[in-house]
């Protein structure tokens, strides 16, 4: 209970669905995790696992129609974001929670000078004149490493990395308590990636911001995160401290993820990609959604939806095999 009070963010049983002509998409199912101030959580999963939808869900920006948050709660600073009104929510967005999107090429408005795009969010959430806002925006630009002479240029005049810096400047302009970064570097060149990540790390410390880092790159997780949530088909299947997870992954999917990363020190043959594809989200399999791809699936996995189980202090796993005792878990230990 005490723990809960100190949490900045507490997502519980969150379910988000899209109602499409093709059928209902269960994008996020009964998802739960929490985050302390200053902490960084990495959300990892394949494309389509529901990572971005989760992020948008927290921002309450799931497009509706066709999407809708059907159940659950998102407690932020002790307040359920799903209960507050839209105007109140707008005061949270960009101010207390901000978000960095995946593709910097498209997430800036092409017809507005970058400085105005930064100043806009400052104007919105702070008292003060337009002049003050511009000044503050210029400071932000400097902070992310863009020369002020370029302030009045348009997004198309910047490179991808520079644009992502602008996006970061927008996100951090109001000194938010929580920053959600949705694969902020996956659209960038590797060298630029490192620069941007470095910048984010620095600024996170400077602003003392909590962060949700959405990624499919375990390297980034290792670099930047404190906690990790592994998502599969709209579910968090494993949630643990970074070190615990890397040392002792429990869920067969997590193990599969680690196995599919090439390791230069090991023999190539040990590379074992996970077989099969993500299930059709309009038609999820019965029981454990991972069972069709799971090598160690049991008959029960076809029927019973597994529940989150704490296998060790702060290490949660959603797998029937884990609920049945640690003996079996230990078998897989060596696999990691």
């Amino acid at each position: 209970m005490d723990e809960k009070a100190t949490n900045l963010l507490d997502v519980k049983e969150l379910s988000i669905q899209f109602f499409l002509e093709e059928g209902t998409v269960h994008a996020v199912n009964n998802l739960s995790f929490s985050l302390k101030p200053g902490e960084t959580i990495g959300i990892v999963g394949e494309t389509g696992a529901g990572k971005t939808t989760t992020a948008l869900g927290i921002m309450r920006l799931v497009q509706s129609p066709p999407g809708m948050i059907v159940s659950g709660s998102i407690e932020f600073e002790g307040q359920n974001l799903l209960d507050i009104s839209e105007p109140e929510m707008r005061k949270v967005r960009g101010n207390k929670i901000s978000m960095i999107f995946q593709d910097p090429m498209t997430s800036l408005n092409p017809v507005i000078p970058v400085i105005d795009q930064i100043a806009e969010v400052i104007m919105l959430h702070n008292e003060g004149t337009a002049k003050d806002a511009i000044l503050k925006a210029e400071q932000m630009l400097e902070k992310v490493g863009i020369r002020i002479e370029r302030a009045r240029e348009y997004p198309h005049q910047f490179s991808g990395g520079m644009r992502q810096r602008v996006v970061i400047a927008i996100a951090l302009a109001c000194n938010p308590a929580l920053l959600i970064a949705d694969e902020p570097t996956s659209a960038l060149d590797v060298t630029i990636q490192a620069q941007v990540l470095e910048l984010m790390k620095d600024l996170k410390v400077e602003f003392n911001t909590s962060m949700i880092m959405i990624t499919h790159d375990l390297g980034i997780v290792a670099d930047i995160c404190d906690k990790v949530a592994i998502m599969y088909a709209g579910n968090v299947v494993e949630l643990a401290d970074k070190y615990q997870l890397f040392r002792n992954p429990q869920h067969p999917y997590t193990i599969g993820l680690f196995n599919s990363i090439p390791d230069i020190k090991k023999d190539e043959e040990t590379l074992k990609p996970i077989k099969g594809l993500m299930p059709d989200p309009t038609n999820l399999p019965s029981g454990c959604p991972f069972h069709p791809r799971c090598e160690s699936a049991m008959p029960r996995c076809f029927e019973i939806v597994p529940q989150m189980v704490e296998v060790s202090q702060g290490h949660y796993v959603k797998c029937l095999r884990c609920t049945e005792g640690s003996a079996q878990n230990n078998k897989n230990e060596g696999g990691a």
């Binding site: 899209f18 389509g48 971005t52 939808t53 995946q102 019973i304 529940q307």
Partner: protein, 336 residues
Amino acid sequence: MDNNTQNATVPKTKKPKKQSRFREVWKRYKRSPLAIAGLFIISCIILLALSAPFIAPSVDGMPGYNLQDWGNVRQFPSSEHIFGTDHLGRDVFSRIAHGAGISLRVGIVVITIGITFGITLGSIAGFYGGYIDNVFMRIIDIFLAIPNILLAIAIVAALEPGLTPVMIAVGIGAIPIYARTVRAQVLTYREQEFVEAARAAGASDFRIIVRHILPNCMAPVIVEASMGMAGAILAAAGLSFIGLGIEPPLPEWGAMLSEGRIWMLAGYWHLTVFPGLMIALIIFALNMIGDGLRDALDPKLRSGFSKRHFERLKVQAAQKIQEQSQATTVTKEGVA
């Protein structure tokens, strides 16, 4: 690309089997009530055209649309003449019924001219590119600089008034649009692997265009054709209206409108209202079909489904969630 709906779901692409493609298009097509209404209206008009010889049979070799009754001119609609009679005492409904076939014929002839020449010119320009394409595009520019109706009037003036010259003129006016559409399509396909493969297999240019490229270009052409047919009927009616397409005693709807116009201010509204309504109806139907086809052939451009449909899905989902949560509770208990 990072649309949140698409992020959540990737609709499965089915194998391009002809039968199933048609069925899929039809499945999507029939979802739009307007598109179905369009199809229904066109079917009715076709039926009207086919049944015209029975609705208004010829008498003593005089066609049913030209049975004059000079003692009974300009009668208002009554049970005997549901659309009234015209200035020569002919039954307006009979004329409209016979006119349906003419309008359909005009539409078909015009798009046949437009598509035949458009496909030929467009695919040559798109396929060979370079100098040919340049010249071609300049010629298209020239044609597009002349408003279509003026070009058509000029062509008819160079020929003679009459329905055939009008069809030729409107058809010529339609060529640039089809040619441009086809050219753009051919340009996107000519560099693709299957074309390269065919070329490597020694196929002639003609064969590559006709067998490999054109079948892939047909979707936009079909959409353009149904909209174009509407445009053609409208243009032809316009030309008839100003007296260029009149071929008495043929009951072309535009010509009927033109003939009825002089009686309009004298209060004989039925002579202008009914033919005009029919023109509007057929164009309306063709446009709706075109809209429906575009949405069905190209789901990206889909204009969306109805709000009601969305609400219904939402309710269904809510019920399902409830059932699920009950089910999970049961399993939980079972497990416990």
